[in-house]
Amino acid sequence: MTKKTMAVFLFLLMFTSGALGNDQCGTMQCPLTLELKEGKDEIITSGHFNLIWPVKEALSKGEREDDGPGIADALVDDETHAATQLLIATDQSFSQVTHTIPIHSTKRKISLTGFSDGEYYARLFDGHNEPVSNTVKVKVKHHSMGRVWIIFTSGAVLFALLIAYMVAKVFRHKE
């Protein structure tokens, strides 16, 4: 590959990767990139998922919290960001918000749980309710009950056999 085609390729790559994070924060590029840790298109089968918004290189000179010198040095991650809340809604326009979660200014990931089947949209907002990240779509679809009952029943049968043997033979055993 020549230098010229390489440059074109890199340009196109930058262009497309920008376009993929299609959500704009007002007219600006969003300062935070919100991601589903389990994988972009992963279907969540247990109602439990993790969201992350890692530190970006360009933003690493954020304000530092006054934690005292000793402790601050030991902290792994004390870079601050503008997000103050994470909103989760059932529609992309965030008109039906189901969860409003306060976010600490140094928090970089969150573990969420107990969601029923459905499509959810998550986005970070600042103190003025302005978006500061892209929107992430999370699809929750629990395991089918058919599969669950097969596994549950086979476990129950094996367990019953073990208990039956233990009661009949082991607990009643006389030396």
């Binding site: 600490h104 549950f152 033979k169 055993h173």
Partner: protein, 475 residues
């Protein structure tokens, strides 16, 4: 992380105090150790109070204090109840502990039993299963210690992990199983009181009704009795727990160390007293969402809620409780794995004529060696080790039926048991990769069960129980 609830200085002071107290205690108890039996099996005469407490403390690991809240947070009510049913392992092991002590009064390890009962191929397969599991557990405990200190105080992971390992290795080395058992007693009391205070404050200050109503609206699956993933997890976790206890030398060495007639009572007592603890530690996690607490990663939900409810004092409580839980399992595992290496690998394979004095010295070196190996494996902080522990479910669940049947059925033959270990583990691993971690132990146990049943029908080994009485040496 949001913040570090306790300062590095406080964490270091606590570590130094714990270190000095436990190591002194270990040295003080170790003065009475004269023989290999004293060191490895605490003189084979442990009474009910110590016996019950040590079984309980060892089963309360970092898993009970960190993973029980995690599973409640992820899988809701079934996660909490399913976790507490791991107590069945202790309860079902109770009559077996009595049988083990009667069958092999001169035995040292579970490896001794498998070797004499089923022969060399089954013994080697069993040692691989057992050793993989023990190392996985040891490393996950060492790592949990480092991660906990890092989260609560900001103390460097490597420093925290090294200090915790060094303390446990030191007192196990100085006092042997006697120190392990006595420290376990004190640690049990500390853990229970700490867990109760955190649970009680949570119940009082947050209120169960508000927790319930909040979750019902926002996180309904947590309260669901038909939560699919949690239902699949339920029996898998039970078999994992039973497999862990039935096969591991941690529990066999205790059965042999307890005074005759004590084993059954001690395991029953510890099982019933352990049963509610994951519910107390777990329900705290249900309160997290209603407190506005959503952890960075779900295994830190317990400490987060405690720190939020009790402030800095809560964080110190969590520190003490989890440290005690870690230490009580780490020391037991060091001692039991060292017995397995000394007796089964060294005395069984390398130097069959080794004297008891030589084995006594060697078992101390092995404890030190295990500590160093664990330390090296913990250094890179491979975050998937929690997953590795679940992975071992495929291994340990294959041992359940061979052990139970081996203790009570003369017919059960060694060839089929070897096949049960190997094929059970293989099927468990296939299930782990094809479906998920929540079926690994179940698939392994089902396969092993089928092979054992075929073995019972096809072949009669006519095993002579007297062969176990005198612990035959390896041919």
């Amino acid at each position: 992380m949001d913040y570090n609830p306790i300062s590095i200085n406080t964490a270091l002071i606590l570590l130094v105090i714990f270190g000095i107290v436990w190591i002194f205690f270990g040295w003080w108890l170790g003065r009475k150790n004269k023989t290999l039996d004293d060191f490895m099996l605490a003189g084979r005469n442990v009474g009910l109070a110590f016996a019950g407490a040590t079984a309980m403390a060892t089963w309360i690991t970092s898993n009970t204090t960190l993973v029980a809240p995690q599973l409640t947070y992820e899988l809701g009510i079934w996660g909490m109840v399913g976790y507490s049913l791991a107590a069945l392992g202790l309860i079902l092991f109770a009559p077996m502990a009595k049988r083990i002590k009667e069958l092999m009064p001169e035995g040292y390890t579970c490896g001794d039993f498998i070797r004499v009962r089923y022969g060399k191929p089954a013994w080697i397969a069993f040692l691989i299963v057992s050793f993989c599991y023990a190392m996985g557990w040891l490393v996950s405990l060492g790592m949990a210690g480092g991660v906990l200190l890092d989260t609560l105080s900001g103390l460097n992971y490597k420093v925290g992990m090294t200090v915790i390992l060094a303390i446990c290795v030191s007192y196990t080395l100085l006092g042997g199983l006697r120190a392990v058992i006595a420290t376990d007693y004190v640690q049990t009391i500390i853990i229970i009181v700490g867990v109760l205070i955190i649970g009680f404050v949570c119940y009082q200050s947050v209120g169960l009704e508000s927790v319930y109503e909040f979750n019902k609206e926002k996180h309904p699956e947590l309260l669901s009795l038909l939560f699919p993933a949690a239902m699949m997890f339920l029996f898998n976790n039970i078999f994992f727990g039973i497999g862990e206890i039935f096969h591991s030398n941690v529990w066999w060495s205790r059965a042999l160390a307890f005074r005759p007639g004590i084993g059954k009572k001690a395991y029953l007592l510890s099982g019933f007293l352990w049963l509610p603890i994951p519910i107390v530690t777990g329900f705290v996690a249900l309160a997290a969402p209603s407190l506005g607490l959503y952890p960075d990663s779900s295994d830190m939900v317990g400490p987060m809620v405690a720190a939020k409810l009790l402030g800095d004092i809560g964080a110190i409580f969590v520190f003490i409780v989890v440290f005690s839980a870690l230490a009580s399992s780490l020391d037991s595992l060091l001692a039991a794995t060292s017995d397995l290496v000394t007796r089964d690998i060294y005395n069984g394979l390398i130097d069959k004529a080794a004297s008891k004095e030589k084995l006594h010295k060697l078992s101390k070196l092995v404890i030190l060696g295990l500590g160093v190996v664990t330390w090296i494996l913990c250094l890179p902080k491979i975050t998937t080790l929690g997953a590795l522990l679940n992975f071992t479910g495929a291994f340990v669940a294959s041992t359940i039926w061979p052990i139970v049947l081996g203790l009570y059925q003369r017919r059960m033959s060694g060839n089929f048991v070897t096949a049960a270990f190997v094929l059970g583990t293989t099927c468990g691993l296939i299930g782990y990769h094809m479906i998920g971690f929540y079926v690994a132990a179940l698939f392994s146990c089902i396969t092993s069960f089928v092979i054992c049943m075929v073995g019972l029908i096809v072949k009669d080994d006519k095993f002579d129980w007297q062969r176990l009485k005198h612990m035959e040496k390896m041919q």
